[in-house]
Point group: C4
Chain length 256, copies 4
């Protein structure tokens, strides 16, 4: 594997799909929100993405089987006539290098373009450094017309804080723009140092109303707990286990 | 996007253009100077450069729309018969890796070569570690003949300090040399730790006289303030917002 | 040399070979175990692997000749009718960058696939932070059916600790999976800060029984000592000898 | 420039040339020695090597002209019938990344192979951490037969210290070996923290006798001083001048 690869595991045909991205990021808000939606909507997996810029490790599952780090694509078929089908992008990690972020996002866009995706919703956290009782949802868009549509659902468009959007949540919008895809990033207000199911809830509330989806939210705290477990496993994995003995920046600690 | 891309947004025909580069660097002297000239000369944008070695983020503009990090090309048509047309290269950032600096500069030179550019003026700061009331402008050239031309306007050619020139301000000259382009780097004396509109003014004074341009300078302090705002936004962006969770050098701080 | 290269030094024909990997890693458990087996079984070298992502150095042998850092392939022909032939992968080092790990492992799999390898056993250490009198052997597999086969020999499948497997020991399994190769990683319980021949012994015990091999173990402590010498040579090499003068992360210490 | 480039500046025809490498390294022993030989033998430049893995900067010469970082090839035609012609490889720097070391050395070998080079002598320092009144010269070879030839001139082949050889001085030998080139690295005993003309002298003494060259040595201290100046210029260059504003590892110090 010398470049990013997407393996299609199920051929599907989708109607006006919208891409919803929720990869690991600040407060794991996007990941929690997207994974909760996948679960509640019973979305089905149809493709997996692997990259040589993911951590060079395998994950050991609870049943002692191993698997590669990956991103996954799930689809959901709308029942309502006016609804869009959905593609979810979730996963364990993002690319390790700045350049790989561009590469992986370009691959994702190539892939969803095959399904004639015209809109992208990316989900993330907005770090404020303190806990919020009722986390607001901040928005940033690829064209101004979208602001009105989302203000209806309480999204705050107020960039006096001068923030930007990093990694997939940002690049998918920026790179999608030049392909004629419109997009919005919904960012749940979050502390920044904790996994934040509350912020994820706020974000889902917006998506749910905008897309007229029926999604229960009471399970989200449990979901948050599961996520915390997985993350702590991955974290430990990185600390304890057999790394190659000569990592670039620690060549002086070669052996012990 | 796997490599640097230049998107032409307007087809133009230019007469003996000179490339003037002012990307972010020491004291933001080059950036301030070139952007001020673009504004005062009402130069028009005709191309944008994107690179997978720019930061993997999007910038949120004040109107809540997002855009990619980019470099921009502006052109200015000379009115005087003896004057050269000008191409300005300005932008948000430079390549993140040493190798990408070579790649991006080579792409820039390929591009301006299409317009038969024969001369390059790069603008930057010359760090002295203290504030100067009347910042001098230091010069370095690709051939000695140019020294006389610029000494007239007070440029100091005195390399006893043994400095070099990093990034685009240096590489465009070095790489341009082997393509038969002559060039000069004009470096405004600057502290090195502050945004320095005064040094930018000194640099513009030289360019203005050499190219016989009419450029007002009184707005530059205001421009400096705007630049400071943008930079502080970008800076904050890098500190606060949703970075991917596993940056290479901080894998131990994976989650919190 | 711009990419990983495998040089075949002897043409061999193998019957249902199993790949056994033991490259440097935690406690050098895998390296010690695999090299001991190579020696005791009198396995023969048939190929060498070189990579531009190995350390940019040569090793000086005791007779004052130099050689490149390398990985080596050894083969062993089974005498028993029901036994599998074996391919051993051992070596000085692993790739220096995350991405090169994927690249090198893919090259290894391409190579052993030529010999119709259907199974992979990777050997490593499992860090516990303390010394164990009787080190356990932990296992992780690519499919659940293998668990039963290895439980027989005392391998513990108990992933409550939430570990992962880094570098070749993990990636060969993960990448092999999508090529239809089954695999297991056997990890000897080890402190993590010392070379551990005891853990290597435990790992060999399992492999030996599973593959019905006749391997003496009494030499292993001597082997451990030799390994320690080699590693300490390599370690010193990295500290004392003529590194290029401008390593990326220490550009400020350019000369002294 | 996306890859290493070698520009031939003069077509020459050489008889059984030997490559002598002296690039920057420990104590600048190799660089000092090779440059002194180039000067004393009045060797002529015939090619230059540029790489996108050299520092992304230009050097300002004393006459205020700029030039790229480079390596240079010089040739010397033997007058004696039995003597070999010589190719010298000297320069400002080596590649910044481990991988680029392999790439650049492979390019060098491709180049000298065109001239049917069959032997390589690389020059470097051997760090001992203290000053030596009469620095010994240590050797490492690609085949044992060469040991006898060089022992005659006092070269010590005694690898009990367990050292290796990094960068071009090592890789040229290792990579040359598989091309059928024989080679030796001559390492002058040096402190490791200072520029060391004495060690360079010792190294030249060996080369001189082995190749029956007439080279004066009294200028070497002066040469050392010049080298010190150049290096200190380069060093300062790296500290003071206009680096791009967002280096990878200091993104948090973005602006001031």
């Amino acid at each position: 594997m010398k470049d990013t690869e997407i393996h299609i595991t199920k051929e599907v045909s989708l109607k006006n799909p919208i891409l919803i991205e929720g990869l690991p990021g600040l407060g794991f808000v996007g990941k929690l929100a997207a994974e909760h939606m996948v679960k509640e909507l019973k979305a089905q997996k149809f493709a997996e993405l692997f990259s040589p810029d993911f951590p060079p490790q395998v994950i050991i599952e609870k049943d002692s089987t191993v698997r590669m780090f990956r991103n996954e694509f799930y689809y959901w078929k709308a029942s309502g006539k006016e609804q869009n089908d959905l593609i979810f992008l979730i996963g364990d990690t993002q690319g390790l290098t700045p350049q790989s972020q561009f590469n992986i996002c370009s691959n994702v866009l190539d892939f969803v373009e095959n399904y004639k995706t015209k809109m992208i919703i990316t989900l993330g956290g907005f770090g404020v450094g303190h806990l919020s009782k009722n986390p607001q949802v901040f928005g940033a868009v690829t064209n101004k017309q979208m602001i009105r549509d989302f203000k209806k659902y309480g999204v705050v468009f107020d960039n006096k804080s001068g923030q930007g959007i990093g990694a997939a949540a940002g690049l998918l919008l920026g790179l999608g723009l030049s392909r004629g895809m419109k997009g919005i990033c919904l960012m749940g207000e979050t502390h920044g140092s904790y996994i934040d199911p509350k912020a994820a809830k706020s974000v889902i509330e917006v998506v749910k109303q905008y897309l007229k989806l029926s999604i229960k939210l009471d399970d989200l705290d449990k979901k948050a707990q599961e996520t915390e477990e997985i993350i702590s496993r991955v974290e430990q994995m990185q600390k304890t286990q057999s790394m190659p003995q000569m990592p670039k920046d620690e060549s002086s600690t070669y052996i012990r």
